[in-house]
Symmetry: C2
Subunit: 191 residues, 2 copies
Amino acid sequence: MKLLEERIIKDGKVFPGNVLKVDRFLNHQVDVKLLNEIGKEFYRLFGDKEVNKIFTIEASGIGIACIVAQYFDVPVVFAKKTLGKNISADVYSTPITSFTHGRTYDVIVSQEFLNPEDKILIIDDFLAQGCALQGLINLIKSAGAEIVGAGIVIEKAFQQGGELIRSQGIRVESLARVKSMSDDGTITFCD
Amino acid sequence: MKLLEERIIKDGKVFPGNVLKVDRFLNHQVDVKLLNEIGKEFYRLFGDKEVNKIFTIEASGIGIACIVAQYFDVPVVFAKKTLGKNISADVYSTPITSFTHGRTYDVIVSQEFLNPEDKILIIDDFLAQGCALQGLINLIKSAGAEIVGAGIVIEKAFQQGGELIRSQGIRVESLARVKSMSDDGTITFCD
């Protein structure tokens, strides 16, 4: 998606350790107009499939998922990272390791909101090592629901996550696939 | 907002300790159509004011803020609850106590995204003790920006938060104001 790649070049920042910071438009300050273009693109890619629910993970996935959901006219469900007092014990759970934050979370979703008849599109901001996406897949499988595919805004294609998930037969569509990043700030994309 | 009150009656659940669970439509599963009605209502209330940014706090505020922002045609900034590796040290921060989760977070926002010339509408899902909203106000004040007001989806009017914030001269508009909840599940609203 050219508009997105241009925005990453313009406003993204590269930090040592393959960190790509896009907090000017995606996951701290959020350009909602850009999210709408992202929503249209995911609908172009997945709109011919039957999708009745969008599934994501807090926090930065939520805004993207809600805007995308408007194009599919379906509700969003987001997985949560901790077991708060307000969450029922009737949940599916899976551990997810965040390399960004250097810790492992238990990620949960209420059993009420994932059902065997669901046809689910996963939406998330990043795909790198694939841990978060694998966790979401595990939760959907626990519920016996169908995974239509995964729509990712930015994939670090030089890391293993994309291969890990696609090798399971799951369709992954990433709107920007970063081929390489260097410490001088240069970012290149896959064709 | 009648539609919202009816939905709270239909799908909300009351738990001991004045916990109101609305995770069927607001903060776990998200009814994006309802969010659009909420967005229209906040625009009806604040649309005559100059607003150039919507400010909220992760996680459950983000989806609401992104949908609301479409009506104002402005970006969203969301405050974050922890200091991840991806966050610059150039942040405003304030402690916020969550009674729901029984802990105190450091909540931060990058100084880059709040500026003295900003006219900010705060959006959040709940107002109860007022800790989260007070924290967001503190962050905006740290930046020297203007607070246009706060748009809250559900206010527990029997708790002190609303009075605490309004007594500071800040306009707070809550779309559903819960007057009382009882353990048998009965919910009443303020007129």
